[in-house]
């Protein structure tokens, strides 16, 4: 019976014309493998461009602001920052959550999109992973120095010290130490492992001795052998599978810093998913901010196509809408929960002493990305770039709103206060953008910007069953 039915279906299939489905190629203009290799390796092998030096020098100057800020802090004391009772956290936690959130898009692209078999991720994943690693480095600075006596920061790790006291594992701040250090380490491992075949390509093309040694050392003697690829692909898939729960857990644990505290506006169960969505949102904002200029400067239009930009814009739109939904749901629950402290915390967020920051947040995070519904706007690259900057600004303000509105309006009106950053706060944060840029520029100069083997794998030539 079923066989007859199947045969009938086949007959029908012969008669019906399949719907026209135009697959947009991921690499435009029918490029060859050689073109891809020369393009990506060329970025690293060519003479250092003048613009690179100008950017590098500027970035170094900006980074020195962090150096100055921290040097002044360590030599004087944490009192030089604006945080004080009742706002004990201030910019330190805001900047920490901001930077760590940015990192999340890199892991989303490299791990979650890999598991979901999203082939378009290949040309943007290396740059985004680099962004992850550098953003986590910037993030780490703030809690590290916020502990006060930074030379005792190693007490956070479960290492024996002369006081014979161990860390207190019930504290979300201690969980953070494990989450963030694991996140950093695993991101570096994943980034490095994916780079090994490309480093081997650079090694084999190298003409200068230092390049032969540098790339040769890190390529570990990779041979492009199928036995190597077999284990590599399995390891890559496993690392993607490990990074996925990791990235979700990291921002969940970061949100525990707030959610575990018994404070109105913080003690909510919505925090973990809301933080993760926000992190991916801000991260995609930063990926667009970084990759769009690179695409123009290096002429990567065939590799980062309009399809890639569309997809990134749509993820930004989706996560931005989730964040907007979370903002409204917080308000709804504050009202529905009928807790007067909770209700006050939210009214105060929108209309209280920091009303301006709340509305900056809403306009940047909820309203701005809605423009990505329109194809015309997604195709207007300078406008996409400007919106991505707004996303970054908005997400910084989100953390500012969460941390400060709650703390500045304590349970006792007698301890209410208004927090403002000092110039040291501003210097330290401003400088991290320079620090990040220095690292990213070095990455551009010395490491392959895109995973060549992965980009080639999604090109039509990779299919061993196709007629060529």
């Amino acid at each position: 019976m079923s066989e007859v039915k199947q045969a009938e279906e086949h007959e029908i299939l012969k008669k019906v014309d399949p719907a026209p489905w135009k697959e947009v190629p991921l690499v435009l203009n029918n490029r060859s493998y050689k073109w891809v290799t020369d393009k990506i390796c060329g970025i690293v092998e060519s003479k250092t461009p003048t613009w690179w030096w100008w950017c590098f020098i500027t970035a170094m100057c900006i980074a020195s602001f962090t150096g100055m800020g921290l040097a002044y802090l360590v030599s004087t004391g944490v009192g030089v920052w604006g945080n004080n009772n009742p706002v004990n956290w201030g910019w330190a936690i805001v900047n920490f959550v901001f930077w760590i959130g940015i990192g999340h898009a890199g892991t989303l692209i490299s791990a979650i999109l890999c598991l979901l078999k999203q082939k378009w991720r290949t040309s943007i994943n290396r740059g985004s992973e680099a962004m992850t690693v550098f953003a986590v480095m910037c993030a780490g600075i703030f809690p590290l120095f916020h502990v006060g006596r930074v030379w005792f920061a190693w007490w956070l790790f479960p290492l024996p010290n002369s006081n014979a006291i161990w860390p207190q594992f019930r504290s979300p701040l201690e969980w953070d130490v494990f989450a963030v250090s694991t996140y950093f380490t695993v991101s570096v491992l994943f980034w490095y492992m994916g780079m090994i075949p490309d480093l081997a390509v650079l090694r084999d093309r190298a003409t200068e001795t230092w390049r032969k040694y540098f790339y040769g050392f890190f390529a570990m003697g990779w041979r492009n052998a199928n036995n190597h690829w077999r284990n590599f692909e399995m390891a890559y898939l496993l690392l993607a599978g490990l990074s996925t729960p990791l990235v979700l857990s990291v921002h969940t644990i970061v949100s525990f810093d707030f959610a575990v505290a018994n404070l109105p506006g913080w003690h909510t169960t919505i925090f973990p998913p809301y933080f993760v969505a926000g992190a991916i949102f801000s991260g995609f904002g930063m990926v667009l901010t970084l990759l769009l200029p690179l695409r123009a400067v290096y002429g990567l239009h065939d590799l980062i196509t309009q399809k890639h930009i569309d997809n990134m814009c749509m993820i930004t739109l989706a996560t931005g809408s989730m964040v907007g939904y979370a903002y409204s749901m917080e308000f709804f629950i504050a009202w529905y929960g009928a807790n007067s402290y909770e209700g006050f915390a939210f009214i105060n967020r929108a209309f209280g002493n920091y009303w301006w920051s709340y509305w900056i947040m809403v306009s940047c995070n909820v309203i701005c990305p809605q423009l990505f519904w329109f194809k015309k706007i997604r195709e207007n690259i300078p406008l996409v770039w400007i919106i991505s900057i707004f996303v970054n600004v908005g997400m910084w303000f989100e953390r500012f709103v969460i941390a400060n509105t709650t703390l500045s309006r304590d349970f006792l009106p007698s301890s209410w206060g208004y927090y403002s950053p000092t110039v040291v706060d501003i210097f330290t944060f401003f400088g991290t953008f320079g620090f990040f840029s220095v690292l990213f520029l070095l990455f551009l100069r010395f490491l392959p910007l895109m995973p060549m083997c992965e980009v080639k794998s999604v090109m039509p030539q990779a299919d061993p069953h196709a007629d060529h």
Binding site: L189, G221, R223, R230, N231, E233, A235, P245, S457
Partner: protein, 183 residues
């Protein structure tokens, strides 16, 4: 110093498409060779089955790492907060498997990731910075746009003339013997 000596390592044939490599690999396997390898700029889909490779063993290392990480996390929390220095926090039990969940969760992932990376290195016998196959003049292009099949001299079926002929018949573009210099 003087004329260097070399020994024969393998016969190599290059191909210029994934399809050619894939088809040729099936024929090499059918011909009964055992010490041979394919080189390609990308992981060619389905080539493992074509070459008769079993599933990769990397997951075993991942599992070993994950299990180690889980118990390491549990052990440090129990040892530090209950055994070595009992820490009273809010009158709660010194140790429970629930509250340090993030700690052992993260350590499970951390150790599993190390297991995966080092497992991959171990199974691929890396790092190994010199290998006779690097002597092939076109080896560098296997990372770019060339594909290559290498049949080692060690293979019991290897024969100077026959193997070279065989590779030529497979459609190998340039077939040559790789020689390994010996100091």
């Amino acid at each position: 110093m003087s004329q260097s000596i070399d020994i024969k390592y393998a016969a190599a044939a290059t191909f210029s498409s994934a399809k050619d490599l894939y088809d040729a690999a099936g024929k090499v396997k059918d011909a009964g060779y055992s010490n041979w390898e394919c080189f390609s700029p990308i992981p060619v889909h389905g080539l493992d089955a074509q070459m008769g490779y079993p599933r990769s063993k990397v997951p075993r290392f991942t599992l070993a790492g994950g299990v180690t990480g889980f118990f390491t996390g549990m052990l440090i929390v129990w040892f530090m907060n209950e055994f070595d220095y009992p820490l009273i926090v809010g009158g709660k039990p010194y140790f429970s498997p629930i509250y340090p969940f993030p700690v052992f969760y993260e350590l499970t992932i951390l150790f599993a990731a190390f297991g995966t990376l080092f497992g991959m290195f171990f199974l691929n016998r890396l790092p190994r910075h010199n290998h006779p196959v690097f002597e092939h003049p076109d080896f560098g292009r296997t990372g770019d746009d060339k594909y290559m099949i290498v049949i080692e001299v060690e293979d019991p079926k290897f024969d100077d003339q026959e193997t070279v002929e065989f590779l030529k018949n497979l459609g190998g573009e340039s077939v040559q013997i790789i020689r390994e210099p010996v100091d």
